[in-house]
Symmetry: D2
Subunit: 352 residues, 4 copies
């Protein structure tokens, strides 16, 4: 089968691979819609995961099941499914300990696609533990909406969960690419009142407003920390969500956050040996500014819940999709868009 892969750091290309086999609990899926992600760019062009050879890229997919293992109970060939980017093994001692399933076999181990096994940019791909990890696409949901759920929506909403947004609180979202926009939508949907969206691209700013941002903060107008501190009369934000940017954004988050506030990070930091916490702004260690950072939950129930929000009209992730291609071969074009980010891009989708 054909697959679009990272050949080595800095280089992508089409390769031939064998169609994956299917374990007793697993499924093989052919994609109906795919989306390239900034993470793919990190992986290929920054080598953020280290050297890889002929690793199939991609972790955002919805598809049609072509084969299920003998012990799969709830799914069958032909079912159209949402495939979460994070597909943990669920029957592990870490889960007994209360560790988030995302880390059930070690840190980040739930992130399998294009990380510890081949990704979804392929004619077929393998899904571990189908009953626990797949969710049916609800009737009436469009493919572009559906393919935003595996990563963009759930990751964005997890930022809101990590930051523990409360009714009427003031929230700042740093970074308004597609994940950050879902942080904005999620914060509004969780009851934020004033909602700062930090970003500079006009299309993203406009979309942030549509998703519920009340103030757009653009670094071109000055230091973002100062802008937010000024706008809040020196109070700072109750909750800060970090959804993109270089390692400096965590520093900014600590500065923006009020004492006793909460920082939720869903940004994948791609570079450097260390992130930095500003000592004084963190109260010389004693500010009670809680710092949470975590990989989005995955699995079936999570996808079903995200899908239920869409089907009950709580928000529409379809607004993220600015470009639509038809045909697997356009994966390359989609990835290029994420790489070079022209002004009119938020998120491309490839329909197959």
């Amino acid at each position: 089968m054909r697959a679009f892969a990272m050949l080595k750091i800095g280089q992508t290309g089409w390769i031939e691979k064998e169609r994956p086999g299917c374990g007793m609990l697993d499924a093989v899926v052919k994609p109906l819609a795919l989306a390239p992600c900034t993470s793919d760019i990190h992986t290929v062009y920054e080598g953020a995961l280290g050297q890889r050879h002929n690793l199939v890229l991609g972790h955002e997919a919805v598809g049609e099941i072509v084969e299920v293992g003998g012990e799969v109970k709830d799914f069958k060939a032909g079912d159209k499914v949402i495939v979460p980017a994070i597909t943990p093994n669920w029957r592990t001692h870490a889960i007994e300990e209360g560790v988030p399933p995302q880390h059930s076999e070690g840190m980040l181990s739930g992130w399998k696609f294009s990380n510890i096994k081949d990704g979804v940019f392929s004619e077929f791909f393998h899904v571990n533990d189908a009953d626990m990890n797949l969710a049916l696409i609800p009737e009436g949901m469009t493919l572009p909406q559906a393919v935003m759920l595996p990563d963009m929506v759930t990751t964005g909403f997890h930022g809101v969960e990590l930051a523990k947004v409360e009714f009427g609180s003031t929230v700042a979202v740093i970074g308004i690419g597609p994940v950050g926009l879902m942080c904005v939508a999620g914060a509004a949907l969780r009851g934020a009142a004033r909602l700062f969206a930090v970003g500079s691209r006009p299309l993203c700013a406009e979309t942030a407003r549509q998703y519920g941002a009340t103030d757009i903060i653009n670094y071109k107008n000055g230091d973002i920390v100062e802008q937010i501190m000024d706008a809040t009369g020196g109070h700072g934000a109750d909750h800060v969500i970090v959804a993109g940017g270089p390692s400096e954004v965590l520093e900014q988050a600590v500065r923006i956050c009020k004492p006793g506030g909460v920082i939720g990070n869903v940004n994948y930091f791609g570079e450097g040996e260390f992130l930095r916490i500003p000592r004084e702004a963190w109260g010389v260690g004693m500010s009670h500014k809680q710092i949470n950072g975590g990989l989005t939950p995955g699995g079936r129930v999570r996808m079903e819940r995200m899908a239920a929000l869409v089907m009950h009209q709580r928000f529409d992730p379809g607004k993220l999709v600015t470009h639509t291609f038809h045909g697997l071969q356009h994966l390359e074009d989609g990835l290029e868009l994420m790489h070079h980010k022209p002004a009119d891009i938020i998120k491309p989708v490839i329909l197959i």
Copy 2:
């Protein structure tokens, strides 16, 4: 001054009282808008708080400050303010213990108006600790919107907080009078997906849909527990909010709630020596169906946060107001509406 009071159980009327004095930290306020509440009905006609003589009724008000004490820093005569129904004393040992401020001087002690002191249905009324308990009415907020904040909005939203609603979860709200409708609005605003609203009055049902309910459950169509269990394939609701009804609603809530789910009660149970938990449905004591019941938070910051939600267009409490009267003398008419509840009433407001 004139005031509308509970003369004794079962009887209301206008009385003359002296204008209240003003302590060093306190304020005296004249009302701009008032709203009668079902709680007033409980107090007067069911004697739910016991016998009282010439107790001024009412705990939902916005008004204009006419006098402040010598140590009040943030407010002055002429300021237009939201007056929360719950006005705790904040400097107490209970708060040091982490007890909710609503109970800072004993259970329910934060609920002062028309409970442990005269209420707001009067030409003037007294507010303890103005700096900590009053909030300015934001520019652009209408009086009918504003007067929904002191009790209806904050109590409804507290039901959502007590029930710990999560993104994409299934929620049932039992009771869709004005507080229940704010539970519905709050649950939608907190990220509920499927949202059952249990009630039978057509206007309330229609308004519940506008506030985000996805399913209306009417007891006239059969047992509400069965209806919700059927609709969820036997799963039950993840979160149940009790916002009205006789003592039986708590039993129903336990039956509707899934194991490991959460019940949040903001209903004021007015009758009977006991509430009942169904033993088997509660897992013979071991179901992990958590039962929370609590008085709404009050105070200044709570009002400011509720107001901020309105000003940032997260929801509109004004839809609750079905009847508007002009003139203090119409308090009696408003209260009668809450007492007899004609089909077209949700909530009356008296503008002064």
Copy 3:
């Protein structure tokens, strides 16, 4: 094989059953030590679970593995293991939802032994999902210590968890049978300061003091609610743990608990259609007295953690064991002791 069973409500006896088979993930175990439980008494003599015929009794065991399924990785025949009373299935959608694993396939479904399958009072018994549910007996732990872990210790400690005991808080434990004594030990180990133990049997009272109780409250000296309210100057307990008694104990717990406090119930309520919450003491629904009731966690990690506490000398569950028998045939004697509770019994153990 021989097994000691509930023949029908009110009648026990020895029966012959086939030795259980072993699924791919499972184990068959022969007991090394067994303990009868008050729950067995409820099941047999009160019919609390309904009618059953020839159901093997018992859910407290440590034993030696005699057979493991083909997919078991961490255990082999000959291993000496702690068998938790609660052995959930772990790979379920309920766990994805965040439901406690104890209810992973429906309410109380993790409680399998002598409830939904044969118990452990038998020459051999079956354990589902050995890798996830069994734990090795640590070297140096005695069998009587070890056999307290499957239910007594973990259930008692879960009461403390449900009641959310904090450093220096005042705790009341109602019921000081063996589970209640473990609530006492757990509360002391979790940082309670003043610790009321409510019970009347002198041996249990003395043992409660050894486990950390600071005050013994005996109903023979007057109403227990009044005694505790008096002893705390009307403040009540910050946390109340219910570990035994008839349905009235929940009422007492609500009365003893301060506003904003937490009640944790691990009592198995055996009778009556309803439990009762006193309306006024519960603040007419709004006291913020949280009511939690739950089945203990089970599974491997829980057993390992409880065992680690014993091995690191944090407490000694061996003090619970007042009677030791040798030989499976003495199960009957042990059960009789739990049934009739002579003055010198806390907990009997049968060594095999």
Copy 4:
């Protein structure tokens, strides 16, 4: 009056100051026992708080009230009281927001003594809001025990709270000076099983064992991260408490902590512009290793709860006190001991 002060960075000495006045809610106290703290060393010799002139040092005291303000209700001259290091103002909007009272008027604002006002190393000192911030010394408590409560005990225990220690979990405490030893005692008292204490001084190591440490980790035997990872079979600690050391300890804490674990910091980081989080060990931002750092709670109820733990024999803080001086003039000697830390010192106390 005489007072021992920081004259400027690097220099201490005795000065004369006027005896402080007493506000309506306040008290003036003369010390009965004082303890110098490493924080005083930071303040004077590292200039960690910046330049100060003639600032009276010290924040650990118990004393006798000599004067109370006209509105103080619960205390009178002659009362012997515990004076918490942290004395917040309690009637603030931050507390309404749910911000920890320690930050009620801005970050770290609850820390007043020898920070934003004169400290306690003086013949007399001022305490704001006596009713809310002072606690009686319980009968039977020794002065050396009592004077460990204002900072050492409560700060150590707060580390345990921030790290969210659970029954049977594995905990690492980095730093075993007096605060770290109280982290050890607190972790044991909160239910830790295996308990690593990281430090190199033999007396502290021995005392850590007495307080419940099960393993001593000495950096002289190799990298502490490797030692703990090896000792836990690569699992890491469930909870890490940082109680001392240079800024590198936070990095080590992140490395030692398991994914999904919790880090609690009570260390006062005295130097450098930034603290550092190791990017990869923190899961490139997504490890769910929660980082909490906070100033200890203070105030009356906190002191009462800590005192109740001592009086109920849950632990004995008196073991910290290795040196006792008699007479205010020996403050200088005590401070020198904290500065140069000879092998036999844990904590000195000055009795007056």
